[in-house]
């Protein structure tokens, strides 16, 4: 089974099945991955689904778009490979993707 992996701030790992066409935020919240709230339901409008993409994956996954960037820019914990996971739509090629969770969501 294809999976994606979330590494918490304390180093714990959680996995969720990679479901093509769904967002990374959706599979995280549906599989009770702690540390992702997703308050706005995937509208890139709350910033509570922030993840930091493993640099090895950054290029394949791509970078943030304008609206997403506007929200990320307000986050003091923002890092170069930060993304809003609700804007990352999963595809088969992302099998094995690893992202890190910030200590806090906004």
């Amino acid at each position: 089974m294809a999976v994606v992996t979330f590494v918490s701030h304390d180093g714990d790992t959680h996995q969720a099945p990679l479901e093509e066409g769904r967002s990374l935020m959706q599979v995280a919240t549906e599989n009770a991955v702690p540390g992702i709230d997703g308050d706005c339901g995937g509208e890139a409008a709350c910033g509570t689904c922030h993840v930091v993409v493993d640099p090895a994956w950054a290029e394949r996954v791509g970078s943030s778009e304008a609206g997403e960037e506007g929200m990320l820019a307000m986050n003091p914990e923002r890092e170069p490979t930060s993304r809003l996971s609700c804007q990352m739509v999963l595809c088969e090629a992302w099998d094995g993707l690893t992202v890190r969770l910030p200590e806090f969501q906004m």
Binding site: D37, D39, C40, G41, A45, C46, G67, M71, F104
Partner: protein, 463 residues
């Protein structure tokens, strides 16, 4: 020491022009009210609001500041969500405006700051001159972003961790002193007091004078021209002058203490003074005043009314209180659900920057557009049995009471923490919190406030 004190006095005097400005604005406002013949006359006198079904759709006016108090708001919002989710009111006392009442449409507007501007004000009406100090809640990017970045560190979760212990001990003091087995007003003794303590902690404001923060903020947030509230302009201007004086003194006092070798704190002023971009903020008085006032006013009514609303809601849905006592782990989710249920701020206002279409309605450039969070949070398309408080509601966090988009509430984590601590500490002390009289409500179309809530506490049996 005297040297420092002298330096402070000298600096405080340097801010007198700011006070003079306010004095001038006050005179202007008085004259205007005299010339227009509105002096001393209330814009709003309460009268019974008819059932919504007695009205034509176009007559529905959500700006009526008594809608919440008279308990008509639910039916008014519900009819609009069903029949006219993007609704035009052509001649309210505040002029024409659009109302957006569905959850999804509100998010669409709140997200889209390119089309819907937060400038110059986020209330339906227009504040009197000079009461319109610049706050970033009413600025569009990029100006908004710079201002917000300067202050948001103080309420960022990292900093809140530093503050949590102090906030908790201040909550405990209040709860330990509450009368038991006799009625008292929860609003004054708990909600207002705890909010004052929270704000004083945030600003490191002289602790004994903390109620001043609440007093200023209450007056400023209830002006009739802005939202139909009852406050008197003369009083507001007088308070405004004392606010300016004391906040400037706070700044210089802090600077002096830091210079004198005191450990830097985790409060707002220290944070501003240690940041390269804001260390001279005091030399930009309007910005200084705007940012501080925004944090005080933004945190005041909202936190207070969530504290009162939670008690009221758990009394209306007593089985939820039983559920809570059986499972205190539900507190964090309940906090979100209480904020949804209360929705302390009814709306935010925008202005269309260009012609646009929203859910089939043609909105013209320059039109006022009001996003009714209080309605979005009761939208049956998103929340099942929306009028009920359900403390383990799975999607409680999808509430819209903090807004969405670049203006999303900056104090959301502080508010959640303050409420979580309150409920954690309440549960260990009290078996019951009974509301013993009908609550009283605030006059406003903006703040959904409870002004009086008589309760009786039953302490937990010990042993």
């Amino acid at each position: 020491m005297t040297k420092i004190r002298e330096a402070i006095t000298a600096k405080v005097q340097a801010t007198i022009p700011m006070e003079r400005q306010i004095q001038g604005a006050h005179l202007y406002d008085k004259t205007r009210r005299w010339v227009t013949g509105t002096n001393g006359q209330k814009m709003f006198v309460e009268s019974p609001i008819p059932p919504v079904d007695d009205l034509e759709i176009g007559e529905i006016d959500l700006s009526n500041p008594f809608l919440y108090r008279q308990g008509r708001w639910q039916s008014y919002f519900e009819r609009l969500r069903k029949e006219a989710p993007v609704h035009y009111q052509a001649n309210s006392p505040f002029g024409p405006f659009w109302s957006v009442t569905r959850h999804a449409d509100i998010i669409a507007v709140d997200k889209n700051h390119d089309v819907f501007s937060a400038e110059p004000f986020i209330v339906i009406g227009v504040p009197p001159r000079f009461m319109d100090i610049e706050m970033f809640i009413a600025m569009d990017p990029p100006r908004h972003d710079l201002q917000r970045q300067a202050v948001q560190g103080v309420v960022a979760p990292k900093n809140l961790r530093e503050m949590e212990g102090l906030i908790r001990s201040r909550v405990r003091e209040v709860l330990d002193d509450l009368p038991v087995d006799e009625p008292f007003d929860w609003v004054q003794k708990v909600s207002v007091e705890l909010t004052a303590r929270m704000l004083a902690t945030l600003l490191d404001f002289p602790y004994e004078q903390r109620r001043k923060l609440v007093q200023w903020s209450d007056l400023a947030a209830s002006m009739e021209q802005t939202n139909g509230g009852p406050s008197d302009n003369d009083e507001v201007f007088a308070e405004m002058r004392s606010t300016v004086r004391e906040l400037s003194a706070l700044w210089y006092d802090k600077a002096a203490r830091l210079a004198g070798g005191e450990e830097p704190g985790f409060d707002l002023i220290t944070m501003l003074q240690s940041n390269e971009n804001t260390k001279d903020l005091i030399d930009r008085p309007m910005e200084f005043l705007g940012n501080l006032t925004l944090l005080i006013v933004g945190g005041n009514d909202t936190t207070r009314n969530s504290m009162s609303g939670g008690v009221l809601a758990l009394n209306q849905f007593p089985e939820q209180f039983e559920k809570l006592k059986a499972n205190p782990d539900l507190i964090p989710n309940m906090v979100s659900e209480i904020i949804r249920w209360q929705t302390p701020l009814a709306y935010m206002r925008r202005i269309a920057k260009k012609d646009t279409i929203l859910n089939g309605q043609f909105i013209r450039e320059g039109d006022k557009v009001v996003m009714w969070y209080a309605s979005g949070n009761r939208d049956e398309a998103v929340f099942e049995r929306p009028d009920e408080l359900i403390i383990d509601r799975p999607n409680a966090r999808n509430h819209i009471a903090f807004g969405f988009g670049v203006h999303r509430c900056m104090g959301n984590r502080l508010a959640e923490m303050q409420l979580r601590i309150l409920w954690e500490e309440l549960l260990t002390r009290f078996e019951d919190i009974d509301v013993v009289a009908d609550p009283e409500y605030v006059q406003s179309n903006f703040v959904r406030g409870i002004s009086r809530l008589m309760v009786r506490l039953t302490p937990k049996a010990t042993g």
